[in-house]
Every structure is written in C-alpha cells, then in structure tokens.
C-alpha cells in the first residue's frame, strides 16, 4: 500500500509540473490571504500578537489546503476521469486519501517557505525554530486525519463539497485563528475543542512565544486523541460510503 500511496502522490506532483502557474499561485496566494491579518496585527507593534495571528492564520491555511486536497480528493480524481481506475485498483480508499495528504503536505511546505520569506521581507520578525517545524509536520498528519473524515462526509453526502470553503472559513474562526479560543463564550469553546486545529494553533502559539512546554505537550496529546478519533470515524464512514456507492452503482457518477 505504501508504494501505491507514494506513486499516487508523485503522480499528482508530476501533473502539477505541467501547470507552471500553479507554482506561482501557491507561492503568492497564502501570503495575500493571511497577509492582511498578520500585517494588521503588526500595526500594534506587539510581537506576541503578531506571532499569535501568524501561526493561527498559517495553520488555518494549511487546513484549507488539506480540505481541498484530501477532503475534495474524490471530486478532483473524478474530474480527471480516473476515479474508477483508482477505485478498481488494489489501493484502498483510505490509502488513496493518504496519497492526497502526502501531496498536500509537500505543497504546504512549499507555500510556507515562500510565505515566511515574504513576511520577513516586509519586516515581520519570524524566528524559525525546529519545534515549529516539527509542529508543522505533526499538524500535517493530524489535519489529514480530520480531512479524511471530511472526505468521507463528501463521499456520502456529495452536496457537502459545495460548502467546502464556507466550512473552512467557519473552522478557522472557531479554532481561534485570530482571536484565541479562551475569549469565546463557553458554548463556542466546546465546539472549538472538537476541532483539531484549535489545539494545533494553541501549541504553535506556545512555541512561537516561548511558552510552557508542558502545556505544549498537553495540547499535542489532546490533538492526537481527537485526530485519531476522526481518523477512525472517517475510515468507518468511508467503508459505509463505498458499500452504498457500490450498491447504487454510483462510482462512475463520482
């Protein structure tokens, strides 16, 4: 299965090399998307605030990419025309989504490098720490799990794909992308802590602001538990979706 996952991820990268403008787009768009938030925070001259907004919006952008790459993975392959070929292959559907996750991780790493460069050129003081790099890797894994859950939802209820972007925006807001979750009303906080991104943003803020590492590892433990739960749910839902689609003969419509 590992070989299949790698081959599919390489395939996506290869296809992307045939569209040169995607690379320019991926280098610039994240900066344009999160720049107004970060540069807005910079007006206050408070480094902590800038760090908080930067890590929140950057991780939210990562989630966006995973929702498009993994969450919409079936739709993307369908528009290519190759979904049935993949479905008929020995690669299981979770494996297919993992390949999309691997590809998205590479793209996220690429866009992060450029985003950091652009911010530094504009005078935003970003200190690169290995703990932050490690957190980005962990974030990639756990947001993938969450996106697999969303992909399964999309497979069962196709209409959810239409509100993909709205969901992403909502998740960003509720996860404390700009305003930390502790400032939310209690009922909203309950929803926030059901989203893995919330813990990752909090962990990122601890790292960037050189906070308490015990709290950091607490957040990592919590996000691990929540994300694994989403992965299990996602895989169970994928199985259910596959059975329904095979009963209805709908793979070709997908």
């Amino acid at each position: 299965m590992i070989r299949g996952i790698l081959m599919m991820a390489l395939k996506d990268l290869k296809i992307r090399t045939r569209y040169k403008f995607i690379w320019i787009n991926m280098a610039l768009t994240p900066f344009f998307m999160i720049g107004p938030y970060v540069l807005g925070a910079k007006i206050t001259d408070q480094k902590t605030l800038v760090n908080n907004v930067l890590v929140g919006t950057l991780l939210w952008y990562w989630l966006n990419q995973y929702f498009f790459g993994v969450g919409d993975g079936f739709a993307e392959e369908r528009s290519e025309g190759t979904l049935v070929s993949v479905v008929l292959s020995p690669l299981p559907t979770p494996g297919f989504l993992f390949s999309k996750a691997a590809d998205t991780f590479i793209m996220n790493a690429y866009l992060t490098v450029f985003t950091v460069i652009f911010f530094r050129l504009l005078g935003v003081d970003i200190t690169i720490r290995w703990t932050m790099v490690a957190l980005l890797v962990v974030s990639g894994v756990y947001i993938s799990f969450f996106s697999i859950f969303f992909a399964a939802l999309n497979l069962i209820y196709r209409s959810t794909g239409v509100i993909n972007y709205t969901v992403q925006m909502g998740l960003g807001l509720i996860s404390g992308m700009v305003n930390p979750v502790r400032n939310f009303p209690v009922y909203l906080r309950i929803i926030s802590y059901a989203i893995p991104l919330t813990y990752l943003i909090e962990a990122g803020r601890i790292v960037l602001n050189e906070g308490d590492m015990e709290r950091f590892f607490g957040r990592i433990a919590a996000v691990s538990a929540v994300s694994v739960l989403y992965l299990i749910l996602g895989i169970l839902m994928l199985r259910k979706a596959e059975r329904i689609i095979r009963e209805r003969g709908e793979w070709e419509q997908w």
Binding site: R3, K11, G81, G249
Partner: protein
C-alpha cells in the same frame, strides 16, 4: 477450471430490473463476448464481476474470491479496461501512466519497465511513449488502456466496449491479440456489440432484458440461420463483415 462463477445474480436500479437471476460459469482461457442491445445489462453484468457494483441478490466468485467482500484482493489478479478514455491521466505521458498504475498494482520497478516496454511495442505505440496522453488519438488511447490493464499480468481481462471508435483494421488487430492471450491461458470477458473479426471458438453471450438469451460459440451463430437471425435482431452492427 471455472474462474468466474455468477449464480442467481439480480440487479435493479430505481425499480427497473437490469439483471434477472443470471447464472454463468466461465472457464480458464475462455474468450467470452457479452453482446446485446443498449440497456440489456451487459455493462452491469461486467461491473458486478469486477466488484464495482454489488448485486441485489446472488453471488459472484472470481478466481475463488467473493467479489462482494474481497474485490480489492481480487483486483491484483484481474485487469479491467474501461470504455472511458479519460480513465488515463491525460497530463502524463503513456510511459508515466503505466509507471503510476504499475506502481499502484505493486509491480516492481524493473518489472514494470520491462512489461511497459513490451506492451507498448506490441500495441505499436512505443515510439509515442513520451507523448502526453492528451496528444494521443482515440485509437492510441484505447491501446494504452489495454497496456494499462495488462501491465500487472492479470489472469482475467475484463473489457468494456473497447472496440467502439476503432477502425476495422484496429478491431481486427485487437481481437487477434486478445485471442492470442486467451490461447495462452488468460480469460477474456469482453462487452461489445461489435462482433466483427471474431474467431470461431469465441463464446458469445447474448443478453436481452437482463437475461442471457443465447450462449453459443461464434461459429454456431453463423452456421445456424435461426441463431444468426436472432443475433442480428438483437445486436446493432451484428454479423460478419
């Protein structure tokens, strides 16, 4: 040795019965053509055999695998040629497509390189291996679809309407190749309503209204006037050219 065993398979879509208690046994090395008019259930039957579709009733066993539960395990042992030309990556070259699909099917790197080269040469597209599939003609894409399906050396090849859109010469070439494959022990199950250029011992199954209306050899079709008349009635483009 029976490699495909379809027993009492029925399938309906939105209260429309597409397959009615189909029973079918196919032996290793047989070349079976499933023919019939549009909507007769040909493709539905093929899809139940490869696992893409679950029957409402009945069982399908292919190479001893229960297709309902073990379709992913089965997939390594079968090749499927879909009618859709877009089931290839058009932004990749032929060579890259075979490399990707060979990798997914677990064919070791060196082996898939050797097999890809051999198949592309057999189907006369080796010189175009570095062209993007989007630059290919329909005929070339169909040949590449066959290469893709054969890359992992499957025991059974399922083919859905591959011959549509091919000229008479290409139809003859593909049929000759497939016939050779069946003689080497591979089982071929092909959905088609083009029955030109078939060999006499090819088994022809004729479906109508979800039932197998006829099950005979190609030779019998043309030696029996009554059978031929029936076939001509049922299948558009039927008959020997």
């Amino acid at each position: 040795m029976i490699v495909i065993d379809v027993s009492n398979v029925s399938k309906s879509f939105n209260n429309r019965v597409v397959l009615r208690k189909i029973n079918l046994k196919i032996e290793r090395g047989e070349f079976v053509v499933i023919a019939g008019p549009n909507g007769s259930g040909k493709s539905t039957l093929l899809k139940t055999m490869v696992g893409l579709l679950l029957p409402d009733e009945g069982e399908v066993k292919v190479l001893g695998f229960d297709v309902k539960r073990q379709w992913k395990k089965l997939s390594k042992h079968i090749g499927v040629v879909l009618s859709n030309e877009r089931s290839l990556y058009w932004k990749l070259t032929a060579w890259e497509n075979l490399d990707v699909f060979g990798g997914i099917y677990g064919v070791p790197r060196r082996e898939r390189k050797r097999r890809a080269e051999e198949l592309l040469k057999t189907f006369g597209i080796y010189d175009h291996k570095d062209k993007l599939v989007e630059e290919y003609s329909t005929g070339m894409r169909k040949r590449l679809l066959l290469c893709k399906a054969l890359l992992h050396d499957p025991e059974i090849l399922f083919i859905d309407e591959l011959l549509n859109g091919l000229d008479a010469k290409a139809v003859g070439e593909v049929n000759t190749f497939l016939y050779g494959l069946s003689k080497s022990g591979k089982t071929i199950v092909m959905v088609s309503h083009i029955l030109h250029e078939m060999r006499d011992d090819v088994r022809v199954l004729l479906l109508r209204n979800g039932r197998i209306e006829m099950d005979c050899s190609y030779d019998e079709v043309f030696s029996d006037g009554e059978v031929y008349r029936k076939l001509s009635e049922l299948v558009s483009n039927g008959g020997r050219s």
